[in-house]
Symmetry: D2
Subunit: 364 residues, 4 copies
């Protein structure tokens, strides 16, 4: 249990890094939404290994096949099953680590939990698992665009190691982001980040960083207090992604150093709508969207897999040393951008449907 996400727009992902493939079943997608394999492939290509020089060179086409739920180019309201076959799987490359707990990987904890694990390439704990999420997120975005004409979601790298970009969340578009392989819309910073990531590869080391995400156009009223507050479900969605260590919304941890009189977002009427003068709330108040941009950030640790020798133990608890041999990302952030957008879209789509259930005439 634990491989499903969402209440009404509910996805179930499956698959290991090596084996038959990776996939997702989406249950609860509204009918009559236009959907093609190309809509899904577009997002998968942004997540795909080998897409640029700064990501892992594992060669996977990651071709998505829609197996059900779509008929003559439109969704049926029945479950949508999507399959991506594994191709460049080289299980033998992992044989030498079959018996070793790699530092800060899930080898030991999977063994502790299940008493068995697929040691080929990380098995279920591989980031390859996120293929199902990104495919489902592409569908969620199609639904959201139909529900909210002005819906838009864009994530981007704001920090890699100690390099911090300067970005105003309000104006960023996806094309700004896609301009650089590192997916940072601050061109100057992007260049230095790229150099740093390449240097890490040379150093056989890795770095982490921060991604910011902005969601626009969903209007006020989305979110289900008291446990399924919008920020709570976003936090869960983000912390369920591999390598994430932190989540913050709006002012985030910076709020801890502010006073109430500074931090409160005052209401005003602007362009005939209720607006706030500032957006420290990050677009959510009391767990419900208030119509402002929803803005949050996610912190990533440096990639655990590094081709540098480290101390660890075997499954028999004997000390040993290990250096990663396979192809890996010195920095996961560029490929994590579409994952974050996907998870955010899944949360929003699910919550939009939940809200419609009780308020069918609302803007949502």
């Amino acid at each position: 249990m634990g491989n499903s996400f969402g209440q009404l727009f509910r996805i179930t992902t499956w698959g290991e890094s090596h084996g038959g493939g990776i996939g997702v079943v989406i249950d609860g997608c509204p009918p009559r939404i236009e959907l093609s394999e190309a809509d899904i492939q577009r997002e998968l290509d942004r997540r795909r290994p080998g897409q640029s020089s700064i990501v892992t060179q594992r060669d996977e086409a990651d071709r998505a096949e829609i197996l059900s739920g779509v008929f003559e180019g439109r969704t049926l309201g029945t479950p949508i099953a999507i399959l991506v076959r594994n191709q460049d799987a080289d299980p033998d490359a992992y044989k030498k680590v079959a018996n070793i707990y790699r530092p800060s990987h899930a080898d030991y904890t999977y063994e502790a939990k299940y008493g068995i694990r697929n040691w080929q390439g990380g098995g279920r704990a591989s980031a390859r698992e996120t293929i199902g999420r990104v495919a489902a997120g592409a569908v969620a975005q199609m639904v959201l665009r139909k529900l909210f004409p002005n819906f838009d979601i864009v994530a981007y790298v704001t920090q890699v190691h100690e390099i911090r970009a300067v970005i105003a969340s309000r104006g960023v578009s996806r094309s700004d982001v896609e301009r650089s392989a590192v997916r940072c819309p601050d061109n100057a910073a992007a260049k230095i980040m790229t150099q740093l990531i390449e240097r890490m590869r040379g150093d056989r080391d890795s770095v982490g960083g921060t991604i910011e995400c902005v969601i626009r156009g969903v209007g006020a009223g989305i979110g289900e207090p008291v446990f399924d507050k919008l920020e709570a479900d976003l936090a869960k969605a983000m912390l369920s992604l591999p390598a994430t260590k932190g989540f913050e919304i709006g002012s985030g941890f910076a709020a801890t150093g502010m006073r109430g009189s500074e931090h409160n977002d005052q209401f005003e009427t602007r362009d005939g709508r209720v607006r706030t003068t500032t957006n420290f709330s990050g677009g959510v108040q009391g767990g419900i969207s208030n119509g402002e941009d929803i803005v949050f950030r996610v912190g990533f640790k440096p990639t655990s897999t590094i081709p540098r020798e480290q101390q660890t133990i075997t499954a028999e608890h004997e000390p040993t040393r290990i250096a990663a041999g396979g192809r890996h990302d010195p920095c996961v952030l560029p490929r994590a951008v579409p994952m974050i957008e996907a998870m955010a879209a899944l949360v929003l789509c699910d919550h939009a449907l939940r809200h419609r259930a009780i308020n069918p005439d609302s803007e949502a």
Copy 2:
């Protein structure tokens, strides 16, 4: 929907700030756990208003009554219903704000979502809602202590505004925490924090801060990848609490500035057990506990309710000014400590039962 939490140890809370009361139903509590109203009251008293000079002076005894599910001092395995009546409710005090959207409160968003709201004291969005959580968390702690003989959970304030305590998470006990009204085990920092909070009351302003929580003794194997990873459910639990803006586990956002070679937790055998030399993972790897202390932090914004005049609008979208008149906390952190422990216990208890379902002979 959105008022239930947990899959197997599942709670449903209900109640508004004013009205018949506040309560919780716990479904899925294992049978034959010793439980009394005193076990619950002990935790409620730590959350209660009026407990010290630095919290709100609203006078509520918050007496818990167990209505079902307990027989002759032990749980029956049937739902446990707990009721706390509202007492010091003064709805008239709120009449003058019935028509006003208070800045950074949920007045506007509840109105936008539901088209109706109980304007008496925040209604469902009041922090009084957390009574049900704290009561249920007390029960979860009783279960956890039975499941794990060495189970322990302790949260404490590490930062108020710009005052940061120096605390080693390893050694902190609940009695260390309860020594100060501000619930910070660094005595020197606690004193300054208390002074600051009192100054804020004088300034008719408020401050936020950070709480850290440590969970010990649950062993390896707890957590359900890929969506219900332990840190994901903790993140959701924490961000569902009022006034929270951020969550981080282990190294957290600090990990963004580290290299993989620094950040990886190396495995070793210590005292006959698999251990890690460092704990940047925060006790969780791949979404599953690894037996080290689980350590996370939560960031709180400054209280929105301040007795200082602020600009806002009415429900008719007319500009107006408002200053809070009621009794409020200039800093929510001291009372948030038991809330965080409660939510963490709920997550752990639920996950422990989920793990037992498939691995009944495991340590968990």
Copy 3:
């Protein structure tokens, strides 16, 4: 676990026969529905003991108190908690059976499952548990009447032991049903049924029977294949009621003796709507309502509690004999009528909301 029902309109019931009381929390009720305690009391009074000479004479007023979720006569969209205190509870009356497994009761199975049980009056297994369901069903009916202007639900006794009434489901109204204490709209049959039930009391024995339920006015499109088909959720709802042994929809078990050419419901256009010429389907096809009346039947066993000596064993597995001493129903059917209506309303309300989530502009 197992004390919640529904996905979007979700109820959680709690309470034992003896103890603090019985209650329910409703999460997911749409906002702005008019609701008062009188709306709930009306249904509880139809379920109440002591309402007529043919039901148990236990004296319980069963007064419902709404504790939350309603403000100035309308629902808030927040959880609605309803409490009924236990009054005429005489635990001592049960002391002599504390150690005995009553035949066809749940004493033994609760002990086997939980290793503990509340032996006072059946504890959680008492039919008193259905108070929460009936209260929630009253709320569900208020919602359904708002969603579907022509919504109507009526259940009635069609058989007691070997006495079968002759009733055309199409024309029956609730006032027809309420004319007799036995809740059978066939006056002649009702009279004989009443005599039989009274005779059973004299014989210190009990009888079962059948209840039919008709739901009108929900239109086509309600139901969620493939597992949450409308008839599947109705079947679950009914078999979750105490003393039920069977469920059938439309033609039911009689369909087993028919040919396809007889049983198929042919489509036609009538009054500008798609209709079927017959209704062997019982208003549901492929798990989705087709706009015809939804008609189903539920079979009840004779009451297990009889004041006649029977053979059984003690908790120590010693043979013993027992005769029920308390006040009981020689036939549960008259009081089960509102329970069936309540459960049916809960299923329909939940499914109506689920349908709205994906099709907000539909008739539903």
Copy 4:
């Protein structure tokens, strides 16, 4: 929504009659269970079209491929995805009925619900959908055999149209059932049933009937009152199968004509265990198994698809006539036997895990 079943052992099925295929994802399967594709294929072959002369001659090999969750012959604890490709799909054969609502099919209701439908062979409403259930049920049976050494489940046809077999549920084994193509262990009745079904094919008509199912060896304590009673979840499981019209447990509807003094199952001690002298309860009391055989029956309507002309309407509401042209079953019961066993196994497996969560040391 509505395509998942189970709480802890949770399956999600997907797929239409025509298109990429049919499949299932199983989440929550315990780790280290031996499982091969042959274990699944064995059950699929019993459900497969073309297996005998009395079922549809559609030619589908229905080969199951395990895509994930199994490693070196044992389950990993991660989701198990199973795929069966569609092969003998002839969508053109359905073009002429694309615009017609077939009597007692789901054509009209799917259109009413979703505003779109896959008219090729019934789409999602096709009985081909049950492939995923049968595959998952095979896995559930592997788990149950590991949990309960004496676990056994066997279903069989007891009635076809007016032909009723004479069978003592206690002694029936699966080999008794598989002796006849009609899956009725009463040889004499089986012969007449087969003749009747063949005659129906000649008559271009169809018949229904009844299947009984016996579950042995699960012990006492399984089931989760008050809503997820064992018989309630079995009823839902069965009524979610295509063509089912009724469910009864133990004495079933026959109980309606009995007296309490006849119907009560008296407890005794036999072979050192608590037993009942009779089993009118059908192995379940108060929603929890009591250790006796669990016995229930399911009523099926005659197949809706008949190659005989019937009156109906088009999607434009014009009257028309239709006769089924494809290959169909004149009686669904022989192929429904493994479906019922599968659904029953899914219910039992899920409940066994739920029970273990709170009682890991129990027999269950």
